[in-house]
């Protein structure tokens, strides 16, 4: 039974926050270290320390996951400050995903950032990722609007800075500014929505909101709608679904490639994770015996809005990418389409025949993570060598770096949703869920846009394999980038050939009623 009584944060409770504390602490320490060190010392080692901090954080998360034992019968959700902070299966799984992605991005970006002349202060760039990741982790664990807002802003402000660190690039400053403006506006939207939700239910706790929503709808119907739709719109900006995505290509283009990858994967994933919490406590509600859609009074409309957004994102992202010659922008638009795909499992809700347990969402998120980071890894190398982000930089890549080109094929095929890759099964599971919920039009749009996307994903392949390069020089791939790339390729293939192992793990790790629906008593 949820009590409204205040919970105090006790000493032992702080132990649960260790992953975030490690990141924040490391951020502070490394920043101080960076300041103290003379300019002559190269900052490269800071990146490895950052990586170590993330690894440490990840290790703690793994430990928490093991002790939480999400697969066991009596896993106990740890709730701090009345669900301001939750340690549950969902949070831990997502944290692991976020940390894995961050580490891969860092690994892939170490040499890229070191070689980037537009970034004068390399050290800061690495350390600044830590608070951003910490913000993302907070978003995974929170079930309270205030904490959620703080997490969002921590992530957001850190990424503004990350983009801006590329000081010598005019584009980067412009990108950072655009991101600030749009980010701030979206934050304002989210906040505005949150304020109404708080107002009509009386608390910022999501569980409480879920419980009070029915009453609130009868009393303040308009306010609930406005609140929820503002919230959704704000999040739509963060996850970049059409028509709230327009900032993404510009911002992605201006940022350093690793930062772009961070935006495309970590920021997007974190926003999605928070959105999951919100949607599953406002729109999709737990009923004791689900027959028919398990939605709240406003849920149907919110879910419809999400469906429309998903469809729009898929269509706009895919078609806009058709004409795109800049690979970074192209990947940004691909990210828009993928956000649409990711939104589908949320938007379709739950029903009698559905197997949707966020497994399809998580699976595709993981697949998206690997294939996108891998693609950005290749892009980082190619762009840096070519000096631009244009498609023609890939011409003849097969001759210059055959193995990298081969790896890129796997990633692009996965992005296009072709077998046998993680991207294919990710989409397949989502499709099956959509079909089970009889949302056929959404499934159709999903598949058709996938087909259209072949055009631009394969245009990269065409450049790599069917065009001749301007230079015959071999392309050297830095070792850390190479490692990140091949981890991504291997993971993409592994997800394709053995989707069952991972899918089952995700399915079992997350239990809706235990982890995501925060309000209901167990």
């Amino acid at each position: 039974m949820v009590t409204t009584a205040t919970q105090a944060l006790t000493g032992p409770d702080v132990a649960y926050l260790v992953p975030e504390i490690i990141l924040v602490g490391a951020a502070i320490l490394l920043t101080i270290l960076d300041l103290l060190l003379p300019n002559t010392v190269r900052r490269g080692f800071l990146s490895w320390l950052t990586l170590a901090a993330m690894a440490g954080s990840a290790a703690v998360v793994v430990g928490q996951l093991l002790s939480f034992d999400p697969f066991g019968e009596n896993a106990e959700v740890i709730s701090l400050l009345r669900d301001s902070y939750r340690i549950d299966g969902f949070a831990l799984t997502m944290k692991l995903i976020i940390l894995a992605a961050s580490m891969l991005i860092l690994l892939m970006g170490i040499r890229t950032i070191e070689r980037d002349d537009a970034i004068p202060d390399k050290g800061e760039t690495f350390t600044m990722m830590l608070p951003a990741v910490a913000g993302a982790l907070i978003l995974c664990s929170t079930a309270d609007l205030i904490t959620m807002f703080v997490g969002l802003e921590l992530l957001g402000i850190s990424t503004y800075v990350l983009i801006g660190f590329r000081k010598k690039s005019k584009l980067a400053a412009e990108a950072a500014f655009k991101y600030v403006v749009i980010g701030a506006v979206s934050s304002a939207f989210i906040l505005f929505g949150m304020s109404y939700l708080y107002g009509v239910t009386g608390l910022t706790n999501l569980g409480w909101i879920a419980r009070m929503l029915e009453q609130a709808v009868t009393d303040f119907k308009a306010l609930v709608y406005v609140g929820l739709f503002f919230l959704v719109a704000g999040f739509a900006v963060k996850i970049a679904v059409a028509p709230f995505h327009a900032w993404a290509p510009d911002v992605y283009q201006g940022a350093a490639t690793p930062v772009t990858a961070f935006l495309a994967v970590v920021s997007k994933a974190a926003a999605f994770i928070a959105l999951v919490r919100v949607i599953f406590n406002t729109a999709i509600i737990q009923t004791p015996f689900i027959l028919g859609p398990a939605v709240s009074p406003v849920g149907e409309d919110v879910l419809l809005a999400l469906k429309v957004l998903a469809a729009a994102a898929m269509i706009v992202g895919t078609t806009a990418a058709l004409r795109q010659k800049n690979v970074k922008r192209l990947l940004a638009l691909s990210g828009v389409a993928n956000a649409g795909y990711l939104l589908v499992p949320l938007a379709i809700g739950l029903g009698t025949t559905s197997t949707n347990n966020l497994g399809d969402f998580s699976f595709y998120l993981v697949a998206y993570l690997f294939m996108t980071i891998g693609a950005f890894a290749v892009m980082a190398v190619v762009s840096q060598t070519a000096g631009h982000d244009e498609l023609k930089g890939y011409a003849g890549l097969y001759y210059r770096a055959p193995w990298t080109a081969a790896g890129m094929i796997v990633l692009l095929i996965s992005l296009a949703g072709l077998p046998v890759t993680g991207g294919f099964f990710g989409k397949l599971f989502i499709l099956l869920s959509a079909a089970q919920m009889k949302d056929y039009w959404l499934a159709a749009i999903m598949i058709v846009t996938s087909v259209i996307s072949y055009y631009f994903y394969f245009s990269i392949i065409r450049q790599m394999f069917m065009r001749t390069a301007e230079t015959e020089a071999k392309l050297s791939v830095p070792v850390p980038t190479g490692i990140a790339l091949w981890i991504c390729v291997a993971a993409t293939l592994a997800l394709g050939f053995m989707p069952n192992a991972f899918m089952e793990m995700l399915e079992q790790a997350v239990t809706l009623s235990r982890d995501v629906w925060v309000a209901m008593p167990r």
């Binding site: 801006g164 400053a173 990108a175």
Partner: protein, 100 residues
Amino acid sequence: MLSSYLTMAAILFCIGLYGALSKRNAVIVLMSVELMLNAVNLNLVAFSKYGVLPSLTGQIFSLFTISVAAAEVAVGVAILIALFRARGVVNVDEFNEMRR
């Protein structure tokens, strides 16, 4: 009582939104964003007093908002300065080197 506060906040939000979306001067844009956030604060405080379940939560929330907004604007201005150094202008509509 509540509704007047809410109306006031909504108007404030809209003014802020309008400013953020239409002013050419980047500094004014950032200030308009502040206005939007303050509208939210007004909402929160009003709900905290006159909401369905009056509690301190709203006021605490507004404290968070205020501090975060400050941080956000600080970063925004810092970035704007970098941008101004690079371009020499603060007109938002000239920050369109990247498009299409």
